[in-house]
Symmetry: C2
Subunit: 455 residues, 2 copies
């Protein structure tokens, strides 16, 4: 990029700070929790707000209805002969328990360069960076068309997104796709992930009575649904090693190549850094290679919570009458969520016939390429903006929309994320910061510039 335009871009970014922060606050303050049916109105307000934002920046935007939450689409499309890139973000967020936060999760606070609030990094902050970059590219006549797709059901596994893509294929026509909802290895080490884990969520429910009963009066004879679910969970997997004991669970799971595994280690992933970023005291392994494989390339069996019984202080000596275990399994290519669910169901039915199994969100794993012109453009844009060569890694999380976009749109997909481990995805005190936002605007401008030159 010539010095003039670099200076100009730097000035643009600097001038944009106040507007960016105000817009981010407007978005974060809307508690669009897709998991909570009572927040539906705030989901709809988020969509309206997003359309207004894009239009105010000079773009086109509209709300597209689906069988679930709507999707916002928009963009800056001016040059029909130029290549078109479709950038995916999402604006729905995880729930947040205000009691556990330093500040109100749904009232963004600005603390120096830090923006704290639910959705700030996942994924409202990055979405806004894309918008500010696209507006700049448009104004400066970079020969690329940018389209936005802002989903509002990502946190519940994108149940209607594939159908939305099929219904709106023409509007979404593009030459390549960017997903902007991923996390770097560390602040010093940008990352371009090329794989995602899939997911199969399940609820296990067991009801053995109609009310909690006295453990003195009934204990020994009454069944204990919490204890029985504990037993079942222990039969499913070894909690210490993470090894899953369900026959057929690992079917199709590909081991990463030696080259990939060595890239993971070279990415800068470290056990200490990981512990610090996630505030974890101890891990299942202290070996960096094993650690990176565990989060990026291996499937899991995870218990998110067991509800039922007594949750208050001390010990209340009841026998619970019902219990629910909240479980999900992360999956890697080429595990098939449906087959995993079948294997799981068969195992549960054998071990605990009267446990009710409810299927929750299901996402296929994704494994892309990490070579080619789009990957090269992404590497270049990250170096331009942040001065550092990114690592090729994978993501341990799941973005259901990615598999759908691959299948429906059939275009190359590149991941350009801005979040950092310490931003606290899905955690309390989630935050984003101006360093990543401002670098992000520059990165997307650089990426659009490089796209314009791809034949």
């Amino acid at each position: 990029m010539p010095v003039d335009s670099k200076t100009e871009l730097t000035q643009y970014v600097s001038d944009s700070r106040q507007g960016y922060e105000a817009d981010l606050k407007t978005l974060v303050d809307l508690a669009g929790v897709s998991m909570d049916p009572e927040r539906k109105a705030e989901i709809l307000r988020t969509a309206d707000c997003a359309v207004s934002l894009i239009k105010r920046m000079g773009g086109e935007a509209e709300i597209v209805q689906t069988n679930g939450n709507p999707v916002v689409i928009g963009g800056f499309v001016s040059d029909k002969s130029a290549p078109t890139v479709l950038v995916y973000n999402h604006l729905d967020v995880q729930p947040a328990d205000a009691d556990e936060w330093k500040s109100q999760p749904f009232s963004m606070s600005v603390d120096g360069d830090t923006y704290r609030g639910r959705g700030s990094t996942d994924d409202k902050g990055p979405a806004l960076a894309v918008l500010y970059a696209a507006a700049y590219a448009h104004k400066n006549k970079i020969a690329v068309n940018v389209k936005f797709v802002w989903e509002l059901e990502e946190e519940i596994g994108s149940p209607n997104f594939e159908e939305f893509l099929k219904q709106n294929k023409e509007k979404l026509a593009c030459d390549s796709v960017v997903i902007s909802d991923t996390i770097w290895v560390s602040r010093e080490r940008p990352a371009i992930p090329y794989g995602l884990r899939g997911l199969q969520g399940v609820l296990l429910k067991l009801k053995t009575g109609n009310k909690d009963v006295h453990s003195g009066l009934t204990g020994g004879l009454a069944r204990n649904p919490i204890a029985e679910l504990c037993q079942l969970i222990d039969q499913c997997h070894d909690a210490k090693t993470g090894k899953v004991n369900i026959p057929g669970f690992y079917d199709g799971a590909r081991e990463p190549s030696d080259e990939e595994a060595s890239q993971f280690v070279k990415s800068g992933f470290s056990i200490d850094g990981f512990k610090k970023a996630h505030e974890l005291i101890s891990l299942r392994t202290d070996d960096a290679k094993d650690g990176s494989l565990r989060i990026w390339a291996k499937p899991t069996f995870e218990v998110h919570g067991i509800s039922g019984g007594y949750q208050g202080p001390g010990v209340k000596t009841i026998v619970p009458y019902q219990a629910e275990a909240k479980i999900s399994m992360r999956l890697v290519s080429d595990q098939d969520p449906e087959k995993v669910f079948q294997a799981f169901s068969k195992f549960v039915k054998e071990k605990a016939p009267d446990v009710i199994i409810e299927k929750e969100g299901s996402l296929k794993p994704f494994l892309g390429e990490f070579k080619g012109p789009f990957a090269d453009a992404a590497v270049g844009a990250m170096k331009d903006a942040f001065g550092v060569e990114p690592a090729f890694t994978r993501e341990g999380g799941s973005i259901g929309a990615v598999v759908s976009m691959k299948e429906v749109l059939g275009k190359p997909i590149v991941f350009l994320g801005l979040s950092l481990p310490e931003h606290g995805y899905h955690a309390v005190n989630e935050n984003f910061d101006w360093q990543q936002a401002s670098g992000g605007i520059k990165m997307f401008v650089a990426y659009f510039g490089r796209l314009a030159k791809i034949k």
Copy 2:
């Protein structure tokens, strides 16, 4: 009892109904939850209220301080040459979650003969029946002195009661003791239990981080404290059979004699009746003998709840950073709670070295006699009042005060309870009823009359 006094007593009971109901409401409306430190003021108000009630009925009463909650003592002591009986009840109650109740747990509702509210059957209703009976006995010059001991820490395992007994031995001097805090086999079948299970409560805590983290980002590498506690719980016992796998756990546990076991079966205990009373759908056994042994004569390992992680609707894909398992073990004679705790701690330390073990309430099991003059008087009084011969059973629950009274006072102990299985001890919609209250007043009057004749 001569016909005259029978008629007179019937009239007294009938005349007392309005006052009894008003007094029970006054007591139930005081939410003296001993487990909840924030309810301390209501515990103290309960004590004040109890003293007023006894004095209004013509007795003497005072509040005795302890290192914990106070104890109310009182009675009708007039004839120094007559035998003295000490009757134990407690006025503290279990917590109650108003959302789950048909009516407010701490505002007693009267529905025909039924009194619904927390503490109505456990143990405020029976305490008031004793008070009304003692007032009658006093007025009618039955040659017996009745002393009341109303504890306010029973539901937290009577941590200060033994010290209270030692400090107040003279005031509590008596010839025999009645415990009035137990449950019949069914409404048609009064029961005199002669054994109680002991208890050892424990909390298991595991903390592996400082906040919940994203299971995509960290799952597989982060430890899962809920899953690890599930594993540990499964190692401790078989949830399906109830068998405990902790070495040394069963040391000292006496098998009941064939005579006792056959009494249990003859008591009228039935699997169907038990299921119905406790609203249980299925049990660990459908055999009545096995069932009665399980609740009355065998120790247990019970999980009351697992806190930590996500408890809301659906699946939130976090890895929890901490978990707490709330556990208690019911014990039978001659298991020693301290030895059981040591065996448990050793086992946990071997299997899960970084799990923190916190000792909760501890109660020794109790096994008394079911023959002799006091047992005979109890049988007679129950027949007088309810027209049915009571069964000798045991209680599966624990009353810490009993072992202390046996050890400190050294007098014969008889159990005269009034609660029914369907009254819902420790459960939602706890209730008591006029049939048991009115029969109870008659029963205690009859018992006092029979005591007066024991040489």
